[in-house]
Amino acid sequence: MAAAEQASPQTSGTTWHGIVLQTLKRNEIKLVPYVPDRVLTTLIKNLHADPYFTTFPTAREEEAVGIVSGAWMAGMRGAVLMQTSGFATLANVLASLAVPYQIPLIMFVSERGTLGEFNYGQALVCRTMRPVLDSLAMEHHTITRLDELEFIADRSIKQAVTTQAPVALILSPLLTGGKTFDK
């Protein structure tokens, strides 16, 4: 692992996506399927560039949840990357697979729909996310600060694995800059 920890600014601990990548690696999370989001672009690019990770797009978020669930039961750790609207498609698989089977599903959700959202549909979808998480009593944290990211992500991954319970780590625009209306 030491050899893989190079001081490139892209993957080092100076950026939010660098911290996420290193935290995944430190926790031996190798399998990272995703449905992309603009905010996640650099993280996804760097995951692809690092041979430690098996990372690939899926057609739907619940497909990615199925994949990491199967992999975990067979001894390989994974995490799913998505955006808020993708999370909104997951209520069924959370309630019928991850939670009842006690699978430590680790999700990173890029938060759209708040703090400068320009698409009303995204703003409404965002409001469904935390009520769904709360209705299943699922652990979730909204990460807003770079100096808290590593602590929250690292501890939450370890808690998910040891308690065999899913967790959603919501990446706030306060952390990532979010997606802004440019054209």
């Binding site: 057609a59 994949i67 199967g70």
Partner: protein
């Protein structure tokens, strides 16, 4: 019943499942929601079996995860046609990753048997194997009859790419009912996969 020209025999899910299970040693089997895993359970429980109690459409994705985690173990996935219709995109994902240790079986009766035998939107005109082929799963074919099914299963074990086998089945319900204890199912499966010891 169907307008597509097929020369495939209409078989029975439980009988095919029994034929598959009787040949198994340490292979993993993921049974899709409903009748598919009921018949897997009825064919004789084994710790390498995983039974889905929800998450319709995810048998192939779950099996893909197992196949990626344990590339030396053969992984079978049994899925209904209605379930697969919910997650057709997974065929493209599987074609991309192309794990050669994955064998997928689609039990196609054209109906949602368990909810009252209503026809699926695909019934009579959508060819699931053609969909798989067009998704990039070149090693996809219909089983003509029971012996052909066994031949295709055997052939898949030494294939250099993932295999998908379509079987036309009748409208019979599942045999038996899986014991609905998700934690026990998961824990035993992990034991079967060699990553957990039972307490």
């Amino acid at each position: 019943m169907t307008s597509t020209q097929r020369n495939t025999k209409v078989m029975n899910r439980f009988e095919l499942t029994q034929r598959l299970v009787s040949t198994l040693k340490d292979e993993a089997v993921i049974g899709g929601i409903g009748n598919t895993n009921f018949d897997l359970w009825a064919a004789g429980h084994r710790p390498e079996n995983f039974y889905m109690l929800g998450s319709m459409g995810l048998a192939f994705p779950i099996a893909l995860g197992v196949a990626l985690a344990q590339p030396k173990r053969r992984v079978f996935a049994l899925e209904g046609d209605g379930s697969l219709l919910m997650q057709l995109g997974c065929l493209s994902t599987i074609a991309t990753l192309a794990p050669k240790n994955l064998t997928m079986v689609v039990m196609d009766n054209g109906i949602y048997q368990i909810t009252g035998s209503q026809p699926t939107p695909a019934a009579g005109h959508t060819d699931i194997v053609a969909v798989a082929l067009a998704s990039g799963l070149a090693n996809s074919s219909w089983a003509a009859d029971e012996d052909d099914f066994e031949r295709l299963i055997e052939q898949s074990k030494s294939a250099s790419s993932p295999t998908l086998i379509g079987v036309r089945i009748d409208d019979k319900p599942g045999t038996g009912t899986t014991r609905r204890d998700p934690v026990q199912i998961r824990e035993r499966f992990m034991h079967g996969m060699g990553v957990r010891q039972l307490l």
